[in-house]
């Protein structure tokens, strides 16, 4: 498949700022999608509101751009009404973890067959750079002008705890690893979650002395620690993710039975 069979040509070029990590994730996703051989006409892309949530509008397939934070709930409805379709959710840190945190946790728990890709750029980019739930401690945003007093959320660890079938975290510096994880996620049933730590040079980097996208990528490279090593080296650091280190790697790969395998289709026979 050519890359522009995958995208809607009439919507190109995309709205993302120069150096935005969303395009990198789109690239890696396209590679993975092509590799697993999924069909565009059989796939629905779901998103909420935010920069990363604009991605489905560029993909040449059925796309639904929903309300803020509710992408997983919408995707659950689509998947359960049409189990034969593949459903992919693109979301961001604010969309998934802040306003949609409840749906995220319960989505992991319910384990409907969804692939959720969260592009975590540590900031609310579309609204101009307000602190998000993943903005590292002491970092500057428009709503934390003297440095963030809160500590960031660890989305991947939450997904592990809540019972997602597959959880991985990479950064946009790890394009090959990310592509491999997306392949693994697409090939796997159940609720699969990939967090991609991504750069927002415009609204995060600029205020934190990393205005150049490559400076952010260098920061990702330097602070990335593989999860097995992170666990051993700094147990108390893991929950302070991104504040000093980014734990990357495949967090968990389970084989839990997914929701509609249990109740979907015609398997209701033993009802009373």
């Amino acid at each position: 498949m050519d890359i522009f069979d995958f995208y809607r040509k009439d919507q190109w070029p995309h709205v993302f700022c120069p150096g935005c990590g969303n395009g990198t994730v789109m690239n890696c996703f396209f590679r993975a999608f092509d590799k697993v051989g999924w069909k565009l006409d059989n796939t629905v892309f779901v998103s909420g509101i935010g920069c990363s949530s604009r991605i489905p509008l560029y993909i040449n397939s059925d796309a639904i751009h929903t309300t803020h934070g509710r992408a997983i709930a919408f995707a659950t409805g689509i998947k359960l009404s049409r189990p034969e379709l593949d459903v992919v959710v693109f979301t961001g840190d604010g969309d998934l973890g802040a306003i949609g945190g409840n749906h995220f946790i319960n989505g992991c728990r319910r384990n409907v067959d969804l692939d959720v890709i969260c592009i975590n750029n540590n900031i609310y980019g579309m609204t101009g750079g307000q602190a998000s739930i993943t903005t590292p401690h002491e970092y500057i945003s428009t709503t934390t002008p003297r440095g963030n007093r809160e500590y960031p959320f660890d989305l991947a660890e939450i997904a592990v705890a809540a019972g997602a079938n597959y959880v991985a975290r990479w950064t946009t510096r790890h394009v090959h690893e990310l592509t491999k994880s997306i392949v693994a996620s697409l090939n796997k049933k159940g609720f699969n979650f990939i967090e991609v730590v991504s750069q927002c040079p415009t609204n995060f980097g600029r205020r934190n002395k990393m205005a150049d996208p490559s400076a952010l990528l260098e920061w990702f490279k330097e602070s990335s620690v593989r999860r097995d090593k992170a666990r051993a080296a700094a147990v108390d650091h893991v929950d302070l993710n991104l504040a000093g280190q980014i734990t990357t790697g495949e967090f968990v790969s389970r084989e839990r039975e997914c929701y509609h395998e249990r109740t979907g289709g015609s398997s209701h026979g033993d009802g009373h």
Binding site: A63, H68, G77, R82, I105, T263, G264
Partner: protein, 376 residues
């Protein structure tokens, strides 16, 4: 199993869920809330047997979101809730209106605001259904007043939701939801299915022109549908900055309902030539109905649909009577709309009998008010 034609003695909420399954509902997402929970409980066992899917979500926002999603998957979808749940659903109701998604929302109203009276009836959500979400939009809302109507209007709610691609409400209340009564299931039930892109059926939905209600692009059929709550063109191109496109889109979303008011609105009149007319709906009409049946001086216009506001029947009765009494179980939510229409139609006086607290206005209370007005 679908309910067979015949006579039954059922609860209002049960009639609603039987009708939903018969109308072709294939997806329900709900969250427990008094007094609507029976609908979720019933559909939890009925829907899977009918080849559908039942889902209990983490909150009402998730319910309505999943229901909208399922509707785009092609399933007729329904959720049931009460006031607090309706408040949570508001953003997604606006989204459903903007994206023209057929969904049915059963609101079994209870006393509000806030937690209020979970087990008592009220009509406090009348304006919230129409004006709860931001922006200009239209919905369809039906107000059943007995078990039979709970059944009939649920079927109609599905039909109109599908026909006009709009969120459609059943505004029931704790009184009607929990009331037991006689239900006659007819031999034949008219069912309308949404028009689909690339398909032409002899279905009623296809009578509506495409430029008013565009054909539905079900997911997974190669339409490459783009569904978005952002202002978009007919070809689903996102245009949030263009004033003309926004005007056209929002105007069409409103016009498709208001222009078809005559098709949507349902009502019942007792004693149309009476000097004093009571206008009421749902369980608030019980008292007025009894008075109107026994007294020639008093008639009743009972609205079976509330949104879009049934301007024509109100005008009709208001132009013939001397005074109008609006009877509601809230502090006058539909009163102002009715008063405006009635005064324009030449009615001299429009009064309000409002009662909150859980009990519908009794015939005695209605008579007392009518005496005050000098009607009887």
């Amino acid at each position: 199993m679908n309910i067979k034609p015949g006579e039954y003695f059922l609860q209002g909420n049960e009639a609603c869920m039987e009708a939903a399954v018969l109308a072709g509902a294939k997806f329900f997402a709900g969250y427990p809330i008094t007094p609507s929970t029976e609908i979720a409980e019933g559909l939890a066992s009925m829907l899977p047997e009918a080849g559908g899917e039942f889902l209990q979500m983490e909150d009402e926002i998730a319910c309505i979101s999943a229901v909208i999603g399922a509707s785009w998957g092609g399933a007729k979808s329904i959720t049931a809730t009460s006031g607090p749940g309706l408040s949570l659903m508001q953003e997604a109701i606006g989204y459903a209106a903007m994206t023209e998604t057929p969904v049915v929302i059963v609101d079994v109203m209870r006393g509000g605001p806030s937690t209020g009276q979970p087990t008592r009836a009220s009509q406090g959500d009348i304006l919230a259904t129409k004006y709860g979400s931001h922006g200009d939009y239209q919905v369809i809302a039906f107000a059943p007043a007995n078990v039979q109507e709970m059944f009939d209007l649920t079927v109609k709610a599905f039909n109109y939701a599908e026909k006009y691609r709009v969120p459609t409400f059943i505004l029931s209340d704790a009184e009607i939801g929990h009331m037991r009564g006689l239900l006659t299931v007819p031999n034949e039930i008219k069912i309308v299915n949404r028009k689909e892109k690339g398909i032409r059926r002899s279905d009623e939905a296809y009578d509506v022109p495409d430029d008013l209600v565009p054909p539905f692009e079900t997911f997974g059929k190669g339409h490459k549908a783009t569904v978005t709550g952002i202002t978009h063109t007919a070809k689903a191109r996102v245009e949030p900055e263009d004033p003309t496109i926004h005007q056209q889109l929002v105007k069409r979303l409103n016009d498709k309902i208001t222009n078809n008011r005559r098709d949507i609105n349902k009502w019942e009149v007792i004693g149309p030539e009476s000097k004093t007319m009571i206008v009421s709906y749902g369980s608030a009409s019980f008292g007025g109905r009894e008075v109107a049946a026994k007294d020639d001086r008093v008639g009743l216009l009972r609205l079976k649909s509330i949104w879009p506001l049934p301007v024509e029947p109100i005008k009709e009765v208001a132009s013939k009577c001397e005074q109008l009494l609006v009877c509601e179980m809230n502090l006058g939510q539909l009163y102002w709309g009715i008063k405006r229409v009635a005064l324009e139609a030449g009615c001299k006086r429009v009064e309000l009998l409002s009662k909150i607290g859980g009990d519908p206005p009794s015939p005695g209370e209605v008579r007392h008010k009518l005496r005050e007005m000098g009607a009887i």
